[in-house]
């Protein structure tokens, strides 16, 4: 398999990277490889995760030395073509109500015009097909979802602006659902009542890499109602 790099991160971490740039195959490989590592459950490994194009292993080098873990990772890498691997079982589908455009998404109109789509066609494209949780990061539970069709390749705005908790943003060909209000340079296209981090809950991070998300268009007033009632209005099911 081309381009698989194993490298050190910190004193107690190794990273297996499946590409130099974000691509669908590299992301699938990272997710599938991370799942295989979790399943392997090697003694001395204390944490396994995946990010956009790599899997990360934190371990105790006094139990499992660097050289031995690296050899085992190499062996697992060459065991198959990970870019063609099936995504792991137990993934979930999240249906998240979202209001697009207007005050709920000030940059939506610019972006759909740039993509050459009418409002209805744009909403249909963005809600029609589920998108994958590629990785979580920046803030707890914050999902990077994609990849969207090429025409949604959104550049950063020239100026930073504030987007609220639950905001849906476009970043290159990815959606981001904001965990918290934050200043950002990415265009803001929609609003959800989805809470990406729930420290009080048994499952504090509803989104996991590999999960699917489908947005459902609702009027902005409904989002406000969901927020006010504390419910995020979403639905979740486990995929077969």
């Amino acid at each position: 398999m081309p381009d698989v790099v194993i490298g050190r991160i910190g004193l107690t971490g190794l990273v297996v990277r499946f590409g130099d740039a974000l691509s669908d195959p590299a992301n699938r490989a990272a997710i599938a490889f991370g799942a295989a590592l979790r399943e392997a459950d090697w003694t001395g490994v204390s944490e396994v995760s995946s990010s956009l194009v790599s899997a990360f292993v934190r371990f105790d080098p006094f139990v499992l030395p660097h050289s031995e873990l690296e050899a085992r990772l190499r062996e697992l890498v060459s065991a198959r073509d990970w870019t063609g691997a099936d995504l792991p079982r137990g993934r979930r589908l999240h249906e998240i109500p979202c209001a697009f455009g207007g005050e709920a998404g000030p940059q939506f109109d610019d972006l759909r015009a740039r993509a050459g789509l009418s409002r209805d066609a744009a909403v249909a494209e963005l809600t029609g097909t589920p998108v994958r949780v590629l990785a979580l990061g920046f803030a707890p539970g914050q999902g990077y979802l994609g990849l969207l069709p090429e025409r949604w390749d959104a550049p950063r705005l020239a100026e930073l602006h504030m987007a609220p908790q639950g905001a849906l943003l476009l970043a290159l060909r990815q959606f981001i659902v904001f965990t918290d209000a934050s200043r950002t340079g990415w265009p803001w296209v929609g609003s959800t009542a989805f809470r990406s981090f729930r420290p009080e809950a048994d499952d504090p991070f509803p989104l996991r890499p590999g999960d699917e998300v489908r947005f459902q268009e609702v009027p902005e007033s409904e989002i406000e109602g969901m927020r006010a009632s504390g419910a995020d209005g979403g639905r979740m099911e486990t995929l077969p």
Binding site: G7, G10, L11, G13, S49
Partner: protein, 335 residues
């Protein structure tokens, strides 16, 4: 076993060893800037090393006991006084109801820790009592708050106050992106004197090089990758930042290397303007340093000795010898 906070500086929060295991979900480990000081306080009071303490950044605080409570202050050099009389830091004191504890601003170092007997009580969130302000877990501790001891521990023991709060040399290892810099640039990194910038927080310490920065030619970018405390990120203009416990979990800035865990408290505790230098070590040396540090930390309880009290009643002797002080170990007759 409750202490009322009368005054306290900004940025004070309850901390323990944080919440490991959630990097892939976007939550960094968090926890004390100086976990060694947490262990030192636990050794002095004789409770579990992972117990929570109050982290005070730069400024100290003023406290009044509402009920009998054991206290000890470790970390950055902060003066202590009980009811106005000087009292030793790195030593356990029993406060009676109504007695006050005053902790002064840091003369050296950044983060001081107030420990209560048995640790600070509170409902853990996701297995930890640590505030993670960036993630919205917990909140800063403010005037008027009450902090409660879990109970347990014992007064009258002390540790020699360590001398590791003024910067110095930290060991670094090469990591997967180090090769983006030439060997000459990496060598220059270890020959450069850096100064800790005042704009450092629980997320990262900015360190300004004397002379040129370490910008990569062409400002190469990397795909966002897992980031860990200790990583040395170089921003586009060449300024290094050493990531600390509340860092982001992923970062798109390239990293020239990583400070080894044993030396990260030294970087975190270096006050603004303090000199920092970095020395490349091999993986083997780094692991050996880690092993040696674990042994030192394990031995901390056995290194405590009885607190020497001044028979003339002018407070205890340690108060005159706060930083780098030596505790007499042969005073069995004292109370």
């Amino acid at each position: 076993m409750t202490l009322v906070v009368n005054r306290i500086g900004p940025g004070a929060s309850i901390q323990d060893f944080g919440r490991p295991g959630w990097i892939g979900r976007g939550l960094s480990v968090g926890g004390a800037l100086d976990p060694v000081a947490l262990r030192e306080g636990a050794a002095v009071l004789g409770h579990e090393p992972g117990a929570a303490a109050l982290e005070m950044i730069g400024m100290g605080g003023g406290f009044t006991a509402e009920a009998p409570v054991l206290v000890a202050v470790t970390g950055a050099g902060m003066s202590c006084a009980v009811d106005g009389a000087p009292a030793a830091s790195y030593a356990g004191h029993g406060l009676e109801p109504g007695q006050t504890l005053e902790v002064g601003p840091a003369r050296v170092g950044v983060a001081g820790y107030l420990h209560l007997g048995g640790g600070i009580a509170g409902e853990p969130v996701m297995g930890s009592r640590a505030a993670h302000l960036r993630a919205g877990i917990g909140r800063p501790v403010g005037a008027g708050d009450r902090i409660e001891a879990a109970g347990g521990g014992r007064p009258g023991r002390a540790l020699a106050a360590p001398d590791r709060f003024a910067g110095g040399e930290a060991r670094v290892i090469e990591t997967m992106q180090s090769g983006m810099w030439s060997a000459a640039e990496r060598a220059r990194f270890s020959e450069t004197v850096f100064r800790k910038h005042a704009r450092s927080d629980r997320m990262a310490a900015r360190i300004d090089p004397e002379g040129e920065g370490f910008a990569l030619e062409g400002g190469l970018s990397v795909v966002s990758e897992i980031a860990l405390p200790g990583d040395i990120q170089i921003t586009g203009d060449g300024t290094p930042f050493v990531l600390l416990p509340e860092c982001q979990t992923t970062g798109g800035y390239p990293r020239i290397g990583a400070v080894i865990p044993a030396d990260l408290p030294l970087v975190a505790q270096a006050p603004a303007g303090a000199e920092l230098r970095f020395r490349w070590v091999s993986l083997e040396e780094a692991l050996e340093a880690e092993r040696a540090r674990s042994e030192e930390l394990r031995a901390l309880p056995s290194r405590t000795s009885p607190l020497v009290l001044d028979p003339a009643g002018a407070g205890n002797l340690l108060a005159h010898n706060l930083v780098g002080g030596v505790v007499s170990a042969d005073d069995d007759g004292e109370e």
